[in-house]
Every structure is written in structure tokens, then in C-alpha cells.
Symmetry: C2
Subunit: 458 residues, 2 copies
């Protein structure tokens, strides 16, 4: 067997950092989503770029699939080794290699998590802003082009990755980007590998843009009569150029579970959660102006806070929304949708999604990064009701298609993995076959995360 | 001849919008830089995507080179038809196809110029922020990944192009990106074609992100004793999170020519030109805080202005710096460098550049988009002194190499064209050969702007 041969050779390189223990395989065969477990044949824990390069040289010599693993929080089965092979777990490549406060950038290994980086940065007055809620690895976040609550102000991983070191399928090591703030030098390889979900190369170093910790932060929560009012308040705020650092939407159902789990008082209504970053003066001004806009659209039950504890409690509630919702349905799992549309279409998209859910047998909760036009619905699957999974998947498909009808995308931030593969042709047309051409160019043997993003035998 | 055959067939499609008149060929054989004229064999003026697709089908059938042309202001011979063939001039594809104020985006044909777009947008309260000074076409700006004075606040073309329609080498038409604010759907083809200088496909539609016209603008000019003081003032301002919309550097020599040509009073010293966008309160606050920082670094001779006429005069002076400098050397041409480095290295880079110029026989002027770490030196070539060109090119090469030593890039915004080709291997190593692989995948016949960005026969 070729995979077996690769494992033998890899063991010579990695020693006990190449494992085939059942517990390790099982752990790396699971995902956050509803996909059946598919363990790899072995798990490798490289410590250096050189070791990753050796892994690729050996695996390409033996046509052995290689699937990268960050923290495994991706939601579309991205990191599942569906063709078997080697799972490369980046946990041991977790060094922060350089922080340059003057240039507000840093270089990290891919196994560094977002929270570990921010803990390390605390004393510098800087922070890394992209915040997907989960304490994901920066390699995984780069590879899914992740974003989250702060993208409306600070952008997504696309905007915050300045350069990469990448090990190619044949083991060659390249560098993309530079430490300069911008570059017009050749094709944008940094962007090509960002969001490629480990199908074009393995990322071994990431140079990230950092931001100054804001001098002042103020946050607020407020209720609206309808989704439309809430979304229109957001559109107006953006148009007025009021710089929001976060602006999150919770529908009535989500507000109810968040309230129940967090103890934070929320009305039975759609809510916006907002945050402003800046100076004392500017955040106060932004807050006032936002308050006026919200009031114009019937916003009520306003609560402002510039106290760190209160703010943390608010965002903790938001970040735990996924788990709070599942906790309200013990024993159930979920399907998470990720439509993203032009913001003028968002109220309509969310209202249609709500109707679809209400007409279906499964419970569903809607929340979203409303400043980006990105909403998630979490659809609940009861394992005792076999019809739920099919119903939830049909609902999710319909919401993706609706996003396309509204000139949006089937995934604002989670990525394709396996779950969204069936919709790629619909979204991209001939451009999907161009993606397949690029994949074949960079990975002619199809050993890098096969079966994801592009067609398996395309 | 294959090119002749292509011209015959193209005439059937385009009629008199395919021309071989000498004046037209000559016009499209010139560039802003020092390259010898190289006229194409014919110039095509398509009116639609369908016509561009037909052009590519015909030209690929006959192995005929195709070079796109926007307004021809690129500075590295980008749009020169060095292998002959068809120049596709996008002037007649100059329609603004859609503006959506609610979503703050628009879709344009590639021949629309930046100024035409902003004139059209005036009544909407929106504007398109990327400003390379020259009134370039949006197709050209996309293809060079242009930026300019406002990138420090609003980003470059990379950050403002949301999606593209592209005609591939074989005539197929694809769409990249969506109208959603972000997407994790597959490989980032938008970024791949942005900055590809027409070597991977012809761009026929561009979806752009727009911004709200700021409620208030304030601008200032101030003098410093040294480059280092000026740059350190900028670094501190950025670290404090004071949001600058523009921050430009002029060295002593540039200040002198700008003063002479514009009549604006400037001391014989390095200067910073700054601008803040926001509300009345926030711009006033930003201005005060910047003033404090500048003073700390010895800034003097401060002049603030929030009057539109005064501001226009200031930026007109900055935008005309290139022409003002050439006007000070009648009959001469110039070589423009475009190094971009981590901002902590900028003072050193500029000071070294100044020394190199002072030790050389050619006069040189330094200015830059200092908030991005990007500086240009304009090196003057006297046609009567044949040694000047070689000296200027050697200087330019040295400055590019220095940018690489400082972990920067050989081009922050102008692109590669032909002028920077000899430095690509040094900047990118094996990543340059990956670029060559991508080029061969998308343009296997090497008919799209051959000889640019990647190796001619790589
Ligand atoms: C409760 C919850 C909330 C979430 N909220 C958000 C959100 O708000 N926004 C958001 O964007 N996402 C969100 N996610 C999804 C998930 O957190 C992100 O997709 C995250 O970026 C995945 O990171 P990871 O380290 O877990 O990657 P993994 O799941 O381990 O891997 C993701 C993909 O990247 C590849 N990969 C990993 N490391 C590398 C590497 N070094 N080189 C090449 N390829 C690599 C893997 O092969 C896989 O294809 C959420 C998930 C959960 C469970
Ligand atoms: C005085 C002066 C100041 C300048 N200042 C700046 C500055 O501050 N910042 C900056 O970034 N640049 C600057 N430039 C350079 C220049 O303005 C930019 O490079 C600009 O983006 C070129 O646009 P264009 O329409 O003139 O493109 P062109 O020169 O016509 O073409 C540029 C490249 O794009 C390709 N191209 C054009 N249209 C298409 C299309 N539709 N599809 C595919 N490929 C296409 C061409 O083949 C060529 O390779 C300056 C130039 C001058 C003369």
C-alpha cells in the first residue's frame, strides 16, 4: 500500500510525532458538523517548515493524501480525510516568531491560536482583530478566509494576511507577499493561498497585520420591532460613515436562548449589538450618532456600556450563541448556514429564511454579522428524528441559492469544505473550472485535501 | 502571417474600430517612461464583452499577441506591444453600468476613468477613493493594483475591487467575486486578476466598493528638520490610531520644485501633507492630536485648512509634482522608482536613497505615500547626456534591492511591466516560477501581454 509506505518513511522523519493511535485518529476524524467520522490513516505533528517539506516530499512520492488540521472548528467538514492519508496537525508549530510594534505586524507559525496571539500582544498595545468566536488557529483562519464580528471595521483574513510561507505539494517552500503594506509585484499569491482550505499548499508561516488597541471602547445593545428596522438602521449608520467596530444581529429566537443562557436581560425581539473603537471623544460621538439613527428606526431598550466587564459579558454571550442554542436542544446537532448578500438585500434574505424555517419541521435560529450582509441560521437536528437532517440540509441549500439570486455568496466566511461543494458550479460557473485548473497546476496528483473546494476528479 | 490573418478576421467583427493607422499605432506604442516606442500591429476598440471575447477567440486561433490599453499612464512599459499584435484599447467601454447607493458599490466597464466615475457619483454622496494622481482607467488601475495618496485610509485596488468579469485567453467569459462584502467561496480569482497587468485575461467589468463622502475634511502642510523626524511623526500617528486619509512626504528638493510651480509657500525642508476625513468633531480632534505628535518631532510652519479651494490647491500641487519636476528640467525624461518598505525602515530607505542620488550624476527628487512606507524617487535623464539613463537605471535597481533587503517590495503600486522584470527572481525566488505556472495554465499560448510580469519563455 502506498499510504502504508508513506507512513513508514514519515515515522523515520518524525518518530513518535507520527501516530496511528486510535484515539488520535478518531479525534482527527471528527468535525463540528453533521458529517460522518472519517479518520485519517495517521496523524503527523511537525515542528518546523523543514519537516512539513519532508512530509510533502514523502507523500507526493507515494501519492498519499495530506490534510492539514488547525483546531478542527471549521463547519463544512473541511479537515476530514475523506480519502484517508496523513492528517498534518499544526499544534506543535505554535510559535510567535516576531512582533514588530513599530510596523504593527507579526509573523507566526500556523498553530498559534487567535487568543494565544492576543494574550502575547497585550503588553504591546496592539491586537489582532479578526475574531471568529471559536479560538481557531491562525493557519485554519487563513485557510478558510475567516472573519467574524469585527470584519465590518478591520476586514477579514483576506485583508489582514500580508504574506505567507507555503510548502507546495512537491515539498518546495515558497514565500508570498512582503512586510510592506502594499505591493504590486506580480500575481497575488498570498490571496490565492488564503482561503484555499489546504488544497493548494500547506501554510507554515503567516505574516499578519496588527492594530492599535483602541483607547476607548463603547458597546450597546438595543431592540427593534422588526428585522427590517434593525437592518435599515445598520445601512444608514454605514452610509453616514459612522465607524462601527462590531455590529451583530440576533433574531427573536436567538435573543431568547442568549438571554436564557447568559442571564443578560433581552426583550423578545430582534436585537442589534454594536461596538465602537476610538478615542473617548470619537466613541462618545459615534455612540450618540448611532443612537439617533437607531431611534429613527424604532430602536428601544438601549443599554450602553463602556465598562470592560459589561462589554465582555455581552460579547461572551454573542460568542456562545452557537453553544447556547445547542444547549437549548439537548442531544441535538446543528447545520449552520453562511449566506452573505449585498446589505440592501439582507432584511429580505433574513425574513425569507425565517419563513422557510417556520414552514419546516426543524427549529432554527438566525443571527449574523449584519454590517457585512452575512447571516447564519443554526438549524437543529434531532438524532431521533431521521427526517430532520434531510429537512435541515434542504433548508440550507435553499438559503444558499437565495443568496446567489440576491447577487451574494453561498459562504461569507466558513468556506466550502465538502458541505458547499454541490453549490460551487451554481455560484461560479466557468470560474469553478478555472479553479480546478489552478488546483491541477499546483497539485497535479491531487494529494492536498482531496475532495474539497474543487471537483475530486475534475 | 498569423497576425495579418487575425487582423483580417478582426476587421470583419469590428469594422473601422480596428485600425492600423500610423497615428493610432504610434500613440499606442509609447509609454510614460523611457522605453523605446514599440507600436502594435493594430488597435482594436471593442464596445462590449462579447466583442472582447471574439477578439480573444480570433487571436488565440492565430497565436496573435493581445495587449490591453487603459489610458497608457503606467510607468514600466506595461502596455507596450513588444511582440507586436493587437492593442485592445478600452476607451469605448466607458459605461458606468450600475451604482447602488444603499450597498455603496458600483459596476463599471474598464474604460471608465477614476475622475469620470467620481464626477458621476457626486450627487449620490459617495465616492471612489483610490487616487493615483493620473486620471487612469479603472481597468488599468485594477490591472496594476494601483493605489496612491489615499491608500493609507481606504486601501488599494486590491481592497476595493469586489468582483470582475474577465475574458480568458480562449475567449471564455468568467465572473469572479460577488456583490457581497466578503466571501469564502473558493479560490480568490478576483485577487488573482487584480494586478495581473493583462497577462491572465482581459477585464471587461469591475465591481467596486464605494465610500461615503466625508462630512468634513481638514488638510495641513508642515515642515520638519529631517526625513527621520517626519517619518517618526507618521509612525507615531499611525500607532495612536489617528485615522489619516492621506499622508504624503516631500523631500527638500521636491518641496522646492512644488513651491516654484504652484506658488504655494513651502520652506526649504522636508514636508508632510496630511488630510483627515470624518465628522466636524472627529476631524478637528484628529487634527489636534496630529498637531501634537508633529510638534513633538519638531514639526513647524503648520498650515491647516478646511476650505475646499485651499485643499484642492494643496493636492493639485502634490498630484502635479511629477510634471512640476520634469518642468524644472526642460527636455528631460524621468525614471520613477517605487520601493515600499516596512514603515520603521522608511526613514533609513529615503536617507540612503538621497545619498545614492547625491553621489550620482543625475538629479533626483523624493516623495512618497509615507503612511504605506512607499516612496518614489524621480530621477532625471537628460537626453543630451547618454550616461544619464544608465546611471538612473543603476540607481533605481539599487533602490529596489535595498527595498528587498529591508523586507519590502520592488513596487508598492506601479507594477512590474518590463522595467521591473529583471528583479522578479530576486524578490520572489521559487514563487516567481509558480507565477509562471499560473500564467501557462491560464494562457498556454502566451498571447496575453507577453513579456510582462513572468518570463517570456519561462
Ligand atoms: C462556535 C463556532 C463559531 C464560529 N464562528 C465563526 C465566525 O464567526 N467566523 C468564521 O469565519 N468562522 C467561524 N467558525 C468556523 C471556524 O472557527 C473557522 O472556519 C476557523 O477559521 C477554522 O480554524 P481551525 O483552526 O479550526 O481550522 P480547521 O478546522 O482545523 O481547518 C480548516 C481548513 O483549513 C485547513 N488548514 C488548517 N491549517 C492549515 C495550514 N497550516 N495550511 C493549510 N491549510 C490549513 C484545513 O485543512 C481545513 O481545510 C465558527 C466555528 C464554531 C465552531
Ligand atoms: C504622473 C503620474 C503619477 C502616477 N501616480 C501613481 C500613483 O500615485 N499610484 C499608482 O498606483 N500609480 C501611479 N501612476 C501610474 C499609473 O497611473 C497607474 O499604473 C494606473 O493604474 C495605470 O492605469 P492606465 O489606465 O493608464 O493603464 P495602462 O497604462 O493603459 O495599462 C496598465 C496595465 O494594465 C493592463 N490593462 C489595462 N486595461 C486592462 C483591462 N481592461 N484588462 C486587463 N488588463 C488591462 C495593460 O495591459 C497594462 O499592462 C502614475 C502615473 C503618472 C504618469
Amino acid at each position: 500500500m502506498t499510504i502504508a509506505q508513506a507512513i513508514t518513511e514519515l515515522t523515520q522523519v518524525l518518530g513518535d510525532r507520527l501516530t496511528t493511535s486510535k484515539s488520535d485518529l478518531d479525534l482527527h476524524g471528527q468535525s463540528e458538523a453533521y458529517f460522518p467520522p472519517t479518520p485519517p490513516d495517521a496523524v503527523a505533528y511537525p515542528r518546523s517548515t523543514e519537516e512539513v517539506s519532508q512530509i510533502m516530499r514523502i507523500c507526493s512520492a507515494h501519492d498519499c493524501p495530506v490534510v492539514a488540521w488547525g483546531t478542527g472548528t471549521s463547519l463544512e467538514g473541511h479537515a476530514l480525510a475523506i480519502n484517508g492519508g496523513i492528517c498534518v496537525d499544526f499544534t506543535k508549530m505554535d510559535k510567535i516568531l516576531r512582533v514588530s510594534p513599530e510596523d504593527m505586524d507579526c509573523t507566526v507559525q500556523p498553530g498559534v491560536t487567535r487568543e494565544a496571539l492576543n494574550t502575547d500582544l497585550r503588553a504591546t498595545g496592539l491586537f489582532f482583530p479578526v475574531d471568529p468566536g471559536a479560538n481557531a488557529s491562525l493557519g485554519g483562519m487563513t485557510s478558510t478566509r475567516a472573519s467574524g464580528t469585527t470584519a465590518v471595521r478591520y476586514g477579514t483574513m483576506r485583508d489582514n494576511v500580508m504574506g505567507l510561507e507555503v510548502v507546495l505539494a512537491d515539498g518546495r517552500v515558497i514565500r508570498t507577499g512582503t512586510r510592506a503594506r502594499k505591493s504590486s509585484s506580480g500575481y497575488d499569491l498570498t490571496a490565492l493561498f488564503t482561503g484555499a482550505e489546504g488544497t493548494l499548499g500547506l501554510i507554515t508561516e503567516i505574516t499578519l497585520r496588527l492594530r492599535g488597541q483602541p483607547e476607548a471602547i463603547s458597546a450597546a445593545v438595543c431592540a427593534f420591532d422588526s428585522t427590517e428596522d434593525a437592518v435599515n438602521a445598520v445601512i444608514t449608520t454605514i452610509q453616514m460613515g459612522i465607524p462601527m467596530a462590531r455590529i451583530e444581529f440576533l433574531d427573536k429566537a436567538s435573543a431568547a436562548v442568549c438571554k436564557a443562557q447568559s442571564g443578560i436581560e433581552l426583550a423578545e425581539a430582534p436585537h442589534l449589538l454594536v461596538e465602537f473603537h476610538g478615542s473617548e471623544t470619537s466613541t462618545a460621538e459615534d455612540a450618540t450618532r448611532f443612537g439617533e439613527v437607531a431611534e429613527e428606526f424604532g430602536g428601544t431598550d438601549f443599554r450602553w456600556s463602556s465598562k470592560p466587564e459589561e462589554r465582555s459579558a455581552l460579547w461572551e454571550m454573542r460568542h456562545r450563541a452557537y453553544w447556547s442554542t445547542l444547549a437549548a436542544h439537548p442531544g441535538c446537532t446543528g447545520v449552520t448556514t453562511d449566506a452573505c448578500v449585498p446589505i440592501s438585500q439582507l432584511a429580505r434574505a433574513i425574513e425569507d429564511a425565517r419563513k422557510l424555517i417556520d414552514d419546516s419541521p426543524v427549529p432554527g435560529y438566525i443571527l449574523g454579522h449584519v454590517g457585512d450582509g452575512n447571516y447564519h441560521s443554526l438549524l437543529i437536528i434531532d438524532p431521533n428524528k431521521p427526517e430532520d437532517k434531510a429537512a435541515a440540509k434542504a433548508l440550507a441549500k435553499r438559503m444558499s441559492e437565495q443568496a446567489l439570486e440576491l447577487q451574494g455568496t453561498i459562504t461569507g466566511e466558513h468556506g466550502i469544505g465538502m458541505g458547499k461543494l454541490p453549490l460551487m458550479a451554481e455560484q461560479h460557473g466557468d470560474a469553478w473550472s478555472v479553479m480546478g485548473d489552478l488546483k491541477r497546476t499546483l497539485d497535479p496528483q491531487n494529494i492536498l485535501n482531496p475532495g474539497k473546494v474543487v471537483q475530486q476528479n475534475g
